[in-house]
Symmetry: C2
């Protein structure tokens, strides 16, 4: 049985996570540990008492954001079960996810990276699996409802999300364009094919 954390340690632990969230969302994964420590009002060494490495700290922060997103997808799926407006749910969920990608620079960069650099955070694999499953289900539902082009899969949706612009105006237009595109029917005579 692990002993309860000392009160100052608990306070710092929270301050560190909060500071890391803020700094890394603004400046991206490249933000320095010193900067995070300063924002948390703590010395660098303290970061390392709570996290074995920078990767671990950033990983924890990104995992938090991921969890919120996955919960969001699950909620959308649950609503589809009962209510049933697949199109609206799909687009709203996408817009929310886009918000995260656009707002949290670290999240975006982390998702853009080649996988495998995943730090061993408890439950990471499981969370990722839940996320992919939820997205797959959502995509499948949209396909069945005819709200989503048949040639677009979950991986394509992720790619589209990863690309959301940071600037709010650009983001709105981007989403409008992309959502329209996702609704459209594939055509044969595109200049895009090889």
């Amino acid at each position: 049985m692990m002993r309860a954390m000392r009160s100052d340690a608990a306070r710092n632990s929270e301050a560190i996570l909060q500071a890391a969230r803020d700094v890394v969302a603004e400046e991206g994964i490249g933000a320095s540990m010193v900067r995070i420590a300063e924002r948390a009002g703590v010395a660098v060494g303290t970061l390392y008492r709570h996290h074995p490495s920078k990767d671990h700290l950033v990983g924890a922060v990104v995992q938090d954001a991921t969890r919120r997103l996955v919960d969001l997808l699950d909620a959308a799926l649950a609503r589809i079960e009962t209510d049933g407006d697949v199109g609206r749910e799909f687009e709203t969920a996408l817009a929310s996810a886009a918000e995260t990608y656009a707002t949290d620079r670290a999240f975006k960069e982390y998702r853009a990276q080649a996988r495998g650099a995943a730090v061993d955070l408890p439950g990471a694999d499981q969370l990722e699996a839940r996320g992919y499953a939820a997205l797959d289900d959502l995509v499948a539902a949209a396909h069945r409802a005819g709200t989503l082009r048949a040639d677009v899969g979950a991986a394509d949706v992720l790619e589209i999300l990863a690309a959301v612009p940071t600037s709010p105006e650009r983001r709105a237009t981007y989403l409008a364009v992309v959502l329209a595109g996702l609704r459209s029917a594939p055509r044969r005579d595109s200049p895009v094919g090889r």
Copy 2:
């Protein structure tokens, strides 16, 4: 009058540009100077005889790619003047530009960066201006022809390009979706607006 370059220097200069192109396209702007030197079969010092800094070298490489793209846009515009299939020209040009963004990691990263880090390469500003002008013209032509949503501007197009996936399959789908979206008409009841 500047003296002609010594033959070995000319050879190395070319090898360096070529190596830089390759390495930086593959590994991005983060690639090290040593790696570029190795690929060119030359010592690091030699890179610095030909370029004052890494930024300068990378800038030169990116400028090359930019020039090719701008020429491409100009050619498309010229063809529109005579022939006249605005829609096809617009989409083909976009697909070509997308190819560059997807294929050349350095180009993509460089364009994504905040501007201002622009090294003083001769003709840089002029080239950028030409590029923006050409893109503006192309967008305007597409607007007039009704091939492009009215709410999409040149900046939006750039943002969309900057986001093109690297993977060939994803890229094809992405382009298909986006091009369909760009053709579509804006609608009022989107979940995206505030």
